[in-house]
């Protein structure tokens, strides 16, 4: 994937962000091509989520450049990111617990009819997409606080997928899931990839990384250790990068 003449879908160049003197992300550059899954790895606090939040609009970078399809863009808030077809599935899921599935799915982008929120149509659309993602999902008329972890996750995923994302950010999408649901997420990632989406996947499970990702970028203490092609390295190499912060010799 790397080294081709194609324009990357996303290019994060030299991104830095600090919180009160602590450099959470320190001059990190990564990129993402269409139809590619790039894994972001590192210890807790390595800066993965912070870096990705600069792209999703949750944080504002202190310095650096974000390029989408080769064009520099400014992302100052989540609305900007959404308008660039960047969708995010947060680790916390970012669901309003007191609202039902369809209200959450369309939150900030409600379907409107005659100036009023069209709940019936939004529910119908939600039923459609849930029928595809999680056919067992039935609880359409209860607050999402009444849903299981997996069901909540599928609402969050449906929200990211429904609006024709081109760039998808997934922050530990399988952390709260059982084996069956994890498999479903894996299949979904493959499907979206085949559709030409670019996906940033923050993941702790090294086996999932080896299975799902094309490339892996490893961060430590806010710095980028390196980016490797997953099928050119072993899982031990990647673990070495995470733990020791050193790039394996052959990939360097």
């Amino acid at each position: 994937m790397t080294g081709t003449a194609r324009t990357p879908l996303v290019e994060l160049r030299d991104i830095s962000i600090a919180f009160g003197g602590i450099k959470a992300v320190d001059h990190v550059s990564i990129d993402l091509y269409p139809g590619e899954v790039v894994g972001l790895l590192g210890h807790n606090g390595a800066g993965k989520s912070t870096l990705i939040k600069c792209l999703s609009g949750a944080y504002r970078k202190d310095s650096g450049q974000i390029l989408i399809n080769g064009e520099a863009v400014e992302i100052n808030n989540p609305r900007d990111a959404r308008s660039l077809n960047i969708e995010t599935i947060y680790q916390t899921l970012a669901l309003a617990d007191n609202l039902d599935a369809s209200s959450n799915l369309f939150l900030g982008r409600e379907l409107i009819a005659n100036g009023l929120v069209d709940d019936a149509r939004m529910e119908a659309e939600t039923r459609k997409i849930m029928g595809r993602l999680n056919p067992n999902f039935r609880k359409f008329n209860v607050p999402v606080s009444a849903l299981s972890g997996g069901q909540r996750q599928s609402v969050a995923i449906a929200r990211a997928v429904y609006f024709n994302a081109r760039i998808l950010i997934m922050d530990e999408p399988t952390a709260a899931l059982g084996p069956h649901e994890t498999q479903m997420v894996a299949e979904l990632i493959q499907e979206l990839k085949a559709q030409g989406l670019g996906i940033f996947l923050i993941e702790h499970d090294i086996h999932n990384v080896m299975k799902l990702c094309d490339r892996a970028s490893v961060m430590k203490n806010g710095r980028l250790v390196g980016t490797v092609d997953v099928n050119e390295v072993t899982d031990d190499d990647i673990l070495g990068m995470i733990i020791l912060g050193k790039k394996p010799a052959k990939a360097a």
Partner: protein
């Protein structure tokens, strides 16, 4: 898929009557509490409590608190609080009173009773209220000062700016048009009240039908036809009963005579007229309907509830939560001005202590109405019912001769009791741990 959803719903176990009617259990509880209060005082007072005259008075007295409680629902749902509403009401009332009595007539040389005074006074009041609210919202939303602090400060500031506005004097309402918001001075009369009642009934029936049609169009399960019928009958029944009851409250003969004399006519022998719906109650109903519509069917309301449920999620969904906060408090301020207009018209003067401690009644009414201080949950109808229950309690106790301190003690206890019962109920249902 809609088919799957349908399959499950039809396979669900047989549901109770209230579930089929889709009446909220909490609403049912409040209605039961209200009925209990009404029955006890009706027996105690030998029927006077539910007489047209007292129903009229309770309705009119409830209006200012209920209007502000509607706004307080949004404030509390969004995880804020507004302790300044009583003072803001007073501030708006002061500005309106001064406008109609001194500023407008002297500045523009307007004649006594000119409709321009009415319109300008209302406009000035609404602008002041909305601006105060927006300022509060800006301090909370954009500057990050907790709403408790901002509005606690506001409670002192506006109460005393109100004092300076009128120099501490009471201002009597000289403009006759403004008095129509007060209650007895502004009623529709029997015929117009019946028309309003019938129109309201028709709107309610149409709203239910259109919601049903919309659900059917998307293939969702709807209530059985008889259940829809029962709901319609209940709603129409309540509306028409209320209107009919108030249309049985006659305007005193002496007052009718004065009204005829004011127009330079003499009252025909045996002439009678009924109060019917007070304009202030009509305004409250309008506010409650519009606010319910906003809460359930508009983005603004949806965003308020989302923010209350999870502020971070709302922010990450692209909702401008800061601007939302400004809008919520601005709306609260507007409703304070509206409540002020009605309160001073009812008292026929602006006094320094107008709206004193009203913030606590408003919050109490909102909370009794099922709005959770933790945010994210609350209904407009609940808040109005809460205000109505409190006012009925006070009115009933006053009628049977309970001393004022005792009245307040009871109201305080009812507040705590209502929340306690709600917590027990939610625990039993397993809604909270």
């Amino acid at each position: 898929m809609s088919e799957t959803g349908q399959g499950v719903q039809t396979a669900a176990p047989r549901r109770s009557l209230f579930e089929t009617l889709e009446i909220d259990a909490r609403l049912l509880g409040m209605l039961a509490a209200f009925a209990a209060v009404a029955i006890v005082f009706t027996i105690w007072t030998g029927g006077t409590f539910v007489g047209p005259r007292n129903v009229f008075n309770i309705a009119v007295q409830t209006v200012p608190v209920a209007i502000m409680a509607c706004g307080m629902v949004f404030v509390i749902v969004a995880r804020h609080i507004d302790l300044s509403v009583g003072s803001v009401l007073a501030m708006c009332s002061a500005v309106m009173a001064m406008s109609q009595a001194y500023w407008l007539p002297s500045l523009f040389g307007l004649e006594y009773g000119s409709p321009v005074i009415l319109v300008c006074t209302m406009l000035i009041g609404f602008i002041v209220g909305t601006s105060i609210g927006a300022l509060t919202g800006w301090l909370v939303g954009y500057q990050g000062i907790p709403s408790f602090i901002v509005t606690l400060g506001g409670l002192f500031v506006w109460r005393n700016l109100n004092w300076f506005t009128t120099n501490g004097q009471s201002v009597s309402l000289t403009d006759p048009n403004l008095l129509m918001f007060g209650g007895t001075e502004g009623v529709l009369g029997a015929t117009a009240s019946w028309i309003v009642g019938l129109v309201a009934s028709a709107v309610a029936v149409l709203a239910i039908l259109s919601s049903r049609r919309n659900k059917l169009r998307h293939g969702f399960v709807v209530k059985p036809v008889w259940a829809e019928g029962v709901m319609m009958a209940l709603i129409v029944g309540v509306i028409l009963f209320f209107v009919g009851w108030l249309s049985r409250y006659p305007i005193p003969e002496a007052k009718l005579k004065r009204m005829f004399e004011a127009r330079g006519e003499t009252m025909p022998e045996g002439y009678t007229a009924m109060h019917g719906l007070p304009i202030s109650v009509l305004i409250l109903i309008l506010v409650a309907v519009v606010m319910t519509l906003v809460a359930r069917k508009m983005r603004f309301g949806r965003y308020i509830f989302a923010t209350g449920g999870n502020p971070d999620a709302a922010e990450l969904s692209g909702i401008n939560t800061r601007l939302l906060t400004v809008k919520i408090f601005a709306l609260m301020g507007f409703l304070c001005a509206l409540a002020g207009l009605i309160a001073q018209a009812r008292l026929q003067s602006h006094g320094n202590d107008i709206g004193m401690l009203e913030e606590l009644r408003v919050i109490a009414a909102t909370v009794i109405g099922g709005t959770a201080l933790a945010g994210g949950v609350g209904t407009i109808y609940g808040a109005v019912l809460g205000a109505l229950i409190m006012q009925s309690l006070q009115s009933g106790m006053a009628m049977v001769g309970v001393d004022t301190p005792f009245q307040n003690i009871i109201v305080g206890l009812v507040l705590v009791l209502a929340v306690w019962v709600d917590i027990l109920y939610r625990k039993r249902l397993g809604l909270t741990k």
